[in-house]
């Protein structure tokens, strides 16, 4: 069989690029789940709103980087407001309640965006065009930038969590919320902060990914599904696991789309999900607990 090496390499690069964005989205999701047991159905909409904020700032100021920064800040604030208004009252209740509340929020945000921005997709212009030759393709540098930036942001998150006073607060709260509070850590605010952090990361993904596809109100849906698969496969609450899972699944899908259509590629990730749930339900990359 004649192995199409050039296509495989191209798809590998594509897979890693998409994987890094997915990792960025999924890290926010898994962080939020790990620390407060909240399954944030509205995460895809935070991604979408980030992209739209990016569009608005870009058209008004012409600067992609400003758009990125402002989108992150605005959506982070929005996320904090969301958490304070709708999720704090639900603290201590059945987890079903938060799933439903965030699902409701996602419907509201999606439809609001549809009305506010209309059904026609918007475009975010890349900060620079410019391509290099990858086999027979002209591969955009921008895509490489996305991967690097996402990795950078995730790396920054890791450092923040490991060192720094607030990182310790977050990790302590994740491990033992009650005891963290008894040590004077203001847990309700840690929750809000982490939610804002996750929201900001989703927004960043939205802006970074924007130039690759059109920005429209429904763009969050596919991402949230994939992100959920990644979070479960990676081990819920496991940051490192979700990153690995994101890349793993994106690579598989990238390879699969050599042979099947992209919309069917989701079946690949779903199969991975099923297998994980059957055999390693705590996560594919997590050592089996005793």
């Amino acid at each position: 069989m004649d192995i199409p090496w050039d296509i495989i390499v191209i798809q590998t690069v594509n897979g890693i690029v998409t994987g890094m964005i997915l990792a960025l989205v999924a890290s926010g999701l898994t962080l939020i789940f790990g620390i407060m047991d909240v399954v944030n159905f509205a995460h895809g909409e935070l991604f979408m709103l980030g992209a739209y904020m990016g569009v608005i700032v870009l058209t008004t100021t012409g600067s992609f980087w400003l758009a990125l920064v402002l989108a992150i800040l605005i959506v982070a604030l929005l996320g904090a407001a969301m958490q304070v208004i709708t999720l704090r009252p639900l603290l201590g209740r059945d987890p079903l309640n938060t799933i439903l509340a965030t699902f409701g929020i996602s419907l509201v945000l999606q439809n609001y965006a549809l009305w506010q921005f209309g059904p026609v997709a918007r475009k975010i212009q890349e900060p620079f065009t410019g391509q290099f030759s990858l086999f027979y393709l002209q591969y955009p540098w921008y895509r490489i930038l996305i991967a690097l930036l996402s990795a950078g942001i995730i790396g920054g998150l890791y450092l923040f969590l490991k060192y720094g006073r607030y990182g310790i607060w977050i990790r302590a709260t994740t491990q033992d919320r009650v005891m963290a509070q008894a040590m004077g850590i203001p847990v309700p605010w840690v929750h809000t902060g982490v939610f804002a952090l996750g929201a900001g990361m989703a927004a960043a993904s939205g802006v970074l990914f924007g130039p690759l596809v059109g920005v429209n109100h429904a763009m969050g849906l596919d991402w949230v599904l994939k992100a959920f698969i990644v979070v479960v496969v990676g081990g819920m609450g496991n940051l490192g696991g979700s990153i690995l899972a994101a890349i793993f699944i994106s690579l598989l899908e990238a390879y699969a789309s050599i042979w099947v259509s992209p919309s069917q590629a989701i079946i690949v990730s779903s199969v991975v999900l099923i297998l994980t749930l059957l055999f390693r339900p705590t996560g594919l990359f997590v050592p089996t607990p005793k």
Partner: protein, 245 residues
């Protein structure tokens, strides 16, 4: 320090607390006081509600009736993190150190407060490591890798980083070797000398009587009796009444 000194208010006052776990009426009218700098013991059989009393003071459990006062001000219903910042430290029964954080990071959860200078932090750390040299040796190790006794030390050291006015100690000697029990006794004395009040829940009667000034006895969810520790011996009929099988 006389227990009947009413010219200043007690540091902590618990007034007729009733607490429920679901439908269980665990605390049935608990009242007690701890003066500033006092070591007070809380004795009673398993299940009478001693731990729940501490948890209620610490705000981990909300009373359905009654009040908790700190320095004369009502604090029942306040979230625990505010109480910790006011000066109430809590060392729970199962220690509950942050297993995935290092010893140093565990201590930092108490150290990283507003208004504490870097110098002060260093002072507090040095103090902790001088009392607990083993912790100093293991400062970069994850809390979960420490032995039971070391975890107990860490739990106490951690609370000391808060510079609390009162420490709620829940069964600190449980499961510890005799050598460590005497170490606990020393720590209690040290804290007492520094003017920190202690409310000590213990099954170890000799330790409690030796370390405390006053002792309360609980039975079936209420405080039934109090006495000066100096007036009691280990074989006192009172002890048998509230702790005997």
């Amino acid at each position: 320090m006389s227990a009947s000194d009413t010219s200043k208010q007690p540091l902590v006052a618990v007034e007729d607390i009733h607490t429920f776990y679901g439908k269980s009426h665990i605390l049935n009218g608990v009242s007690l006081q701890v003066e500033a700098g006092e070591v007070v013991g809380l004795l009673g059989r398993n299940g009478v509600g001693k731990s729940t009393t501490l948890k209620t003071i610490m705000g981990l459990v909300s009373p359905s009736q009654g009040r908790v006062l700190f320095e004369g001000k009502p604090v029942s219903g306040m979230p625990s993190h505010k109480l910790a910042r006011l000066g109430i430290g809590y060392v729970p029964e199962d220690r509950r150190i942050f297993k995935l954080l290092t010893v140093m990071e565990n201590l930092r959860t108490g150290l990283d407060r507003d208004g504490v200078t870097e110098e002060k932090k260093k002072q507090l750390l040095d103090k902790a490591f001088s009392y607990f040299p083993r912790l100093g040796e293991r400062r970069a190790q994850a809390g979960g890798t420490l032995s039971g006794g070391e975890q107990q030390m860490l739990a106490i050291a951690r609370v000391m980083m808060l510079e609390p006015k009162i420490v709620l100690l829940d069964e600190p000697t449980e499961g510890l070797m005799p050598r460590m029990v005497s170490q606990i006794r020393e720590i209690i004395d040290v804290l007492h000398q520094e003017g920190v009040a202690i409310l000590l829940v213990e099954q170890n009667v000799p330790l409690t009587l030796a370390a405390s000034q006053r002792v309360y006895f609980m039975e079936k969810g209420a405080v039934r009796h109090q006495a000066l520790a100096s007036s009691l011996t280990v074989n006192d009929p009172v002890i048998h009444q509230y702790l005997g099988v």
